[in-house]
Amino acid sequence: MKNKLSLVVTAILISLVLFVGCKKKEEVEKSIVSVKGSDTMVNLSQKWAENYMKKNPNASIQVTGGGSGTGIAALLNGTMDIANSSRELKEKEYELAKTKNISPKEFKVALDGIAVIVNPTNTINELTMTQILEIFTGKITNWKQLGGEDLPIVLYGRENSSGTYEFFKEHVLGKDERGETRDFANTTQVLQGTAALGEAVARDNKGIGYGGVGYFAVRTDVKILKVKADETAEGIAPAQEGKVNYEAIWNGTYSISRYLYCYTNGTPDKKVQDFMDFILSKEGQDLVKQMEYIPLPQ
């Protein structure tokens, strides 16, 4: 008994020593690139960083969110190497940059396109931006009001931390007369992830939802609606017959889409340039597709 006990104790001690020994491996000097900005792009940016670091073990990319504005502010303060932004830099920000001796350089890195989906049995085929706004803020509550069947509208949305949620809210719902952002109606059912949302709309003939174009283009159990910029405009489908309508998204005729940007200070140094090259390479753009965003025109 005693022998066994001492054996166990020695074994534990030895393994402890080994463990500590392992931990104290010398760390190689790493080149650190810090990225900050748009919450929409955090997951995408992280994906790029992960894959880039896998290929270049000496590189360390640190990605944080906080919103496009915070990212740009950090770039202008010179504390960040790359600012992620889901909008172009404003005139004011360029002026501010000049006074701080910083010359922002713009990279278009991907596009964001959101499809509005309904159940395939729904007779509605296209909606205007205003109608979509009124549906999701709870002003229009019955499909009849839009020329469809006499059924109540059931809203499906994403959790408030998702980038899709942010973009849709910002881009489609916008701000009200008081200058406050409009919120989704509180009858909106919150689902975890695009897949769950697609599933819900596919099973609910009263449902309407939204999500990345890339994801829904290939699904046959939901119907992607055409979107009209206004009453008179032509309805544009973001995807047709299982394929994303890239042209419409690239040239901006599809209303719920936008470019995503990375900003660097001046011509970036090598470590930043390498990372940017990776993002714009075929591999980087494949990751864009994988994360349900729209890749750049090649």
Binding site: G66, D183, N186, T187, T188, Q189, A200, R203, G207
Partner: protein, 336 residues
């Protein structure tokens, strides 16, 4: 319960007798060794018990410390309503949970309503089936059937709740939708059904325990007076075991309030304030689960989620406390 404590005492006595006889046989040295060993084992178990207690206290302290900071920026009234000033300067009172809006709204009302709207129906359903199952196991089934059924029911309680939630989401909701066409496919009732799968085993198993601890004399006396089986169960056994059964229901209710995965998946997560069982609702637990992952640490939203945690903890703590008190009373009463 009574039997086990007695048998433990017995074993203890036997043990000490054994060590006494050992000491007389092998001499003093061994007896000291045995005693030290026993002491060590005793301390080991005591230490484990204390560690568990310390952890619970630490969890409570942490929860409270984080949650109470919500009151720094968000008033206690903000957790009830938000006065939105309209463009014409009129005021509209809103009861909405909307912490990410540009006008942050923290009303807990929709979440509390959602929690009750799933937990109460779930408890009612489970009380009906759980108590019936418990009565059957304790009073009606033959010993062989009981030996098979009781472990099966308890096994049922060990199904991961995420599996139940998924089943309700995919199968349960679709079947229900086809049959009854509720206004929302995922609704409070679907979630309550899912919850009952977790709570029925709790109530059934505890009801059985409570009824079995009723002394057989009562049954015999009842039969002796010419009562039928049903009369004995409904007028003698259930009244006698009432406190035990009610404790099981309270514990089941506590579990229903604290359950997360099923309601997150099946209740639809729309913060409606409603009494309509067939509308989507959002519970307190689901809100924490859905939003805690991405909220930025130290924000008002973050602390508000902890504040919900405090409320949940307090509710379940008191429910468990009440149940525990009832069970203790019952134990004392049954020792004649």
């Amino acid at each position: 319960m009574v039997d086990t404590t007695k048998s433990v005492d017995k074993i203890k006595n036997e043990d000490s007798e054994l060590s006494k006889s050992e000491s007389s046989l092998y001499g003093k040295k061994i007896s000291i060794n045995v005693r030290i060993k026993e002491k060590i084992i005793e301390y080991f178990f005591a230490a484990n018990g204390i560690v568990a207690l310390v952890f619970i206290i630490l969890i409570f302290v942490f929860l409270f410390r984080e949650g109470i900071q919500a009151l720094n920026n968000v008033g206690i009234l903000d957790f009830i309503y938000f006065d939105q000033i309209q463009i014409d300067k009129s005021v509209q009172r809103l009861y909405e949970w909307y912490p990410t809006s540009s006008e942050e709204r923290y009303s807990l009302l929709p979440l509390i309503v959602g929690t009750l709207l799933t937990a109460i129906p779930a408890t009612l359903i489970s009380t009906f089936f759980g108590v019936a199952a418990g009565v059957y196991l304790s009073e009606i089934s033959n010993p062989k059937a009981r030996e098979f059924l009781k472990p099966m029911i308890e096994l049922f309680a060990s199904i991961p709740t995420v599996v139940l939630g998924f089943l309700m989401l995919v199968v349960g909701a679709s079947v229900f939708d086809d049959l009854f066409h509720p206004s929302n496919r995922l609704n409070a009732f679907i979630a309550a059904l899912g919850l009952s799968f977790v709570i029925i085993p709790i109530i059934a198993s505890m009801t059985e325990d409570a009824l079995r601890s009723i002394p057989n004399d009562l049954r015999m006396a009842s039969y002796g007076l010419g009562a039928t089986k049903w009369q004995t169960i409904s007028r003698v056994i259930i009244p006698a075991g009432f406190s035990g059964v009610s404790a099981s229901i309270i514990l089941g209710f506590g579990r229903a309030i604290g359950e997360t995965m099923i309601v997150l998946m099946a209740a639809g997560n729309a913060s409606n304030i409603t009494t309509d069982l067939f509308l989507s609702v959002r519970t307190m637990t689901a809100t924490i689960a859905a939003e805690m992952g991405e909220v930025s640490q130290g924000s008002d939203h973050y602390y508000a989620l902890f504040f919900i945690g405090i409320i949940l903890f307090t509710i379940t703590f008191f429910l468990n406390l009440i149940a525990e008190i009832i069970i203790n009373k019952m134990r004392k009463k049954n020792i004649f």
